[in-house]
Point group: none
Chain length 224, copies 2
């Protein structure tokens, strides 16, 4: 899977910066009006706050577009509220897309991963394969032996994370964090229910028992 450079500004940065760490495969940078501007090679996507301290998101979009290093970036502008005029202005300033806040990290993560997977020319959409399991992050779809798995979004996210960390014990806290949940605080027991649902879906697709319980610790995806 190819690295993608993600830029986050303002509130969004605070929201996600602490999340994109460790095992995530993102090259990560901060982008500030006139501050350090760490740019690396490869496809870039940016999430730009509509409101920032000292520079509007619009201006930020224009600068990204103007900079030859980032002119091809996929820019998502994050609006405070659902205002049609702002949307138009955002697209006009070079944004490719917009989302309306307050942001649901869960969705941002889906978006980021989908962009990562589908970045650049279509057709190269990277897939994550693990035995019979195929995760197509761009299509937000998983398959077992070629057959589509019938997964709810949450189950998909769970499986995606398992597939990214196979044969490793993942605690309930890991899983809750990985799915981007944080508000309201999720009861750890809820994870058990997620697991149950995921197991059922995998069983229904003939995948057998893939998710093993590790008592008092968490769960493991057995890639075997």
């Amino acid at each position: 899977m190819q690295a993608i450079n993600i830029f986050l500004t303002g509130r969004l940065g605070e929201t996600l910066e602490d999340f994109m760490h460790g095992e995530t495969r993102y090259a990560f940078g901060s982008l500030y009006p006139d501050g350090p501007h760490r740019v690396v090679e490869g496809p870039v996507c940016a999430f730009v706050d509509w409101v920032m301290d000292d520079l509007s998101g619009l201006e930020m979009c224009r600068r990204l577009r103007a900079d030859p290093r980032t002119e091809d970036a996929h820019i998502t502008i994050v609006l405070e509220e659902d205002d049609a005029a702002d949307k138009r202005r955002a697209l006009k300033a070079g944004a490719d897309d917009y989302m309306v806040g307050p942001l649901d990290r869960t969705l941002v993560l889906d978006r980021v991963m989908a962009l990562q997977a589908g970045c650049g020319q279509p057709g190269i959409a990277e897939r994550l394969e693990l035995g019979e399991l195929t995760i197509d992050a761009a299509a937000l779809q998983a398959r077992w032996a070629g057959e589509p798995l019938d997964l709810r979004p949450n189950e998909f996210r769970l499986l995606r994370f398992f597939a990214q960390n196979p044969d490793r014990v993942l605690t309930r806290a890991d899983l809750i964090e990985a799915l981007g949940k944080q508000e309201p605080p999720i009861d750890e027991r809820t994870v058990d229910v997620w697991i149950g649902r995921l197991r059922k879906a995998l069983r229904a697709a003939g995948a057998g028992e893939r998710v093993r319980t590790v008592r008092s610790l968490g769960y493991v995806y057995d890639s075997r």
Copy 2:
């Protein structure tokens, strides 16, 4: 699908320049009377305003025809009003085609894609095939298993865009933008209605359920 070089002048440039970016597959250039003239290899098509600040569209046509780099270009001249005499003059000056403004981006996009599909040399991706689905952009027609789909223009554009981005989550914003809509700002909920109509048409043709909803994110065209 092969890249095509598109030149836009004057008001048209302003209208579409901000649109042809990112995932679109166009090499893009601006063409000004005596200004920079970025020319790349490959088939070229040009949209030339009838009225420009300091040079008439007619003169522009002649220059394009005279320039060996662009003498084979497909030139569409954009008239202010529907004047038969102007049309004749335009064709005489070397234009291959004309359209009457004020421009509807939606239509320009249809035109551009149709040209791209049928452009110059035969053999250049005239058709877009995806399983049973065939998109004939030049004819503005889609088929399922050889049988023509009964689609309205909007539905066709939608399907065309889906076919260009199969197995990728496309947000409502993506779709609105892809169809060239911008004025008046389109309500995102409207996309749901487009989808509903497209689904019905596909179903009627025996294509089954091709367009999958991705809750809170958008829609995906499932190629399989």
